[in-house]
Point group: C2
Chain length 426, copies 2
């Protein structure tokens, strides 16, 4: 145990930093070099970095495409695996081996909270779909409905167990460390876990709403890197000395254009655009939402003067994609700045070392998390609520009410509508 | 500025501690004396402490009763005021005056996050009632409905502003302090603010659901103190050396009995039991929920042998009150232990000094917050969902859907019910 903690896996920030320094061939890929030459174009180390990073990027993109092709459940599984890795990286970050030895069970407690959070968040997101999946079997359906009904109480109960466990295992002279760990665990669960879980909510509204935002972040990252690599001269922000204005602007333009184009391409596959109402992996069919039906768009007057185009076919979703593109290129990078600042504040180079040339998984996910939340809120506020809230309420009625209650609701709604119609209210 | 920070209001934990020590007449009321005599009965200081604490307790109870009498909106206002005081106490706790001087706006940023959280949480809890309040005015109704629809997006936008503000004001060499403050603010908002806001959700389900849990915590506190005062000999937990097993057990029994009795008394006032569907303060009437209708209860066989009673009248809600009483006396005190442990870990005596003999407001609210969340989850899981979910869904339909959508929903629900009835599904 001891030598594992000290030599091979460094477990405190300081040890971690030393460990990094020892492996001198390692490349500094992610803007954490403090004395970076202002002329990034002439940086030597960066060619090697470029190759390493390109290889692992290509591998990741390949795996990603395969998983998207396999469908909602597989993407969800991928998200969960990433979340577990991130939690592991982050839990380890503030852990101190000598203190942990005096505190048996502190690791398990972290994971207890993690799985409670998981049950709570995924329960909220997926309960409806789970209920839809098991409707065929009366017994299972009643069981699942019951679990859903008491979902909040069950999670609360689990949380209270963790809370009491924490208090009853408080040890004199360790209070500060233990409270620090408690706060840290909760921050991770909220900032990292809960944020990234919005991804799953997006997936089931249609893979489109997961794939487009995630792709835009990747595109923005790649092009910020490429533009910075070839043209980078003006540093952007002190927090990340390797980021340049050239990279930022080049990437923004590319990302916004890509958003418009990608939305048009992705919007043509029902596999991507249809929401999934259950947890199966089978084929997906739906009436295309008007968002994904091509409409003619008259181009501004000056274009026909120069080009032979007067009109083009546009899917309405492409306008929404522009908003996503704008956010992905202007606001989401702040997620990365936040992570950089955090790493500087606590003097760590990367959150982990799982991906060659990229650092830990958490290092790659910082902007993705910000984007996932935005995509969710955008989708729920400006898209879903406009089109399918009737379906949502119907779903609610069918899952939560008994047959008698459904009938009662039907009668009362009927009476209300009659009254309104008579009052001329519309 | 400077002398205010240094002399009159101590702003770091250490300064705060020194400040406390100087005022030597101050009583140590809340279990933070490290060298407490094991025989608490013979403690001298405690008689003075007892008087101070009794006076302020009586004042608080008087004010509390008046506010409850005035109604939902006033109670809500009281909760909000308490929350603001708590946030103030807690924000100040980890603040360091010299660092703050180099960071203009760091205070405002904390309050920006606080009010964003407030808008978010209260928006979720009260939006439905707000919409009900303004139905008379068509224009206002549409405005409020619109705001409710984009409530999540608005709050997210405000949050993002705070997030970018934070990142853009990061200053070299201050990173660690600033990230610490950021994390601390978020912990306060989640642990203290969000938890305590559940109280408001309870209030509008019926003052009963706020008043009974809050009273049980107060009763448990008072009787733990009284029993500990007169009989306390066996220390309960190292975290709070003034807490004794005698106090704990005496208080538990008293609290559980009080819960049963109080529920019977409170359950007879429609002012306390009726839920309020809007934000007015007017008179309240409703058909009594079956929970509050007396039922005969046959006493166990051995009682009639000794006493002249065979049956008694019980409101069904009294059985639920027993659960609340159990929680208030067994689990909720862990909220207090948590606060004690936290104070020990960071070497502070009290979170503030607003209430003579009690410490800060936060010191009195620790168990209340745990209780409020429990009451909310208990209410939603085991009580509300059983009785009024038809009303809830109807509310949702009337606020979120247009008249046409309401009609569409009515038709589809009708068809579904017809199909089910034909299948013999019930």
């Amino acid at each position: 145990m001891e030598d594992e903690n000290v030599t091979s896996t460094p477990s405190t920030p300081v040890q971690r930093l030393r460990h990094r320094k020892r492996s001198s061939t390692e490349v500094f890929a992610d803007g954490d070099r403090v004395n970076a030459s202002p002329l990034l174009v002439n940086d030597r180390n960066k060619y090697k970095s470029f190759m390493v990073r390109t290889y692992s990027t290509l591998w990741m993109i390949g795996g990603f495409v395969l998983i998207v092709y396999m469908g909602h459940l597989y993407i969800t599984a991928m998200v969960v695996v990433i979340q577990i890795f991130m939690a592991k990286e982050l839990f380890n970050l503030l852990r101190k081996a000598p203190e942990d030895k005096c505190l048996p069970g502190i690791k398990q407690l972290n994971w207890h909270f993690f799985f409670t959070a998981m049950l709570f968040v995924y329960g909220r997101i997926l309960s409806q779909r789970l209920a839809n999946t098991v409707t065929a079997d009366q017994f299972l359906y009643r069981l699942v409905s019951g679990l859903i009904k008491y979902h909040m109480a069950i999670c609360y109960f689990l949380y209270i167990i963790g809370f009491m466990w924490f208090i009853l295992t408080l040890k004199k002279k360790m209070y500060k460390y233990q409270f620090g760990q408690y706060a840290w665990t909760h921050m991770i669960l909220i900032v990292v876990f809960t944020q990234s879980s919005f991804t799953v909510a997006n997936i089931f509204e249609g893979i489109f709403w997961f794939l487009l935002p995630a792709s835009l972040i990747i595109i923005n990252d790649i092009f910020a890197y490429i533009f910075g690599f070839f043209f980078g001269r003006t540093p952007l922000i002190k927090l990340s000395p390797k980021k340049t204005w050239e990279g930022f602007i080049g990437a923004s333009v590319t990302t916004i254009i890509s958003a418009f184009v990608l939305a048009n391409i992705m919007g043509r596959f029902p596999w991507l655009t249809c929401p999934r109402q259950d947890l199966s992996t089978g084929w997906l069919q739906c009436d295309a939402d008007p968002l994904f039906k091509a409409e003619p768009f008259t181009l501004p007057a000056w274009i026909p003067e120069w080009f032979p185009w007067k009109e083009m076919e546009v899917l309405p979703v492409q306008w929404h994609a522009l908003c996503l593109g704008l956010f992905a290129s202007i606001i989401a990078p702040f997620g990365g700045f936040f992570a950089s600042g955090f790493k500087r504040a606590f003097k760590i180079k990367d959150f982990g070392d799982s991906i060659p040339g990229h650092g830990g998984i958490t290092d790659r996910m910082d902007c993705q998390m910000v984007m996932a939340v935005f995509a969710y809120i955008y989708l729920q506020s400006f898209i879903v609520s406009q089109s399918v809230s009737v379906d949502k309420i119907l779903d609610q009625i069918l899952t939560n009410l008994t047959f008698e209650e459904q009938q009662a609701l039907f009668m009362r709604l009927g009476n209300m509508l009659k009254d309104k119609a008579m009052m001329g209210y519309s």
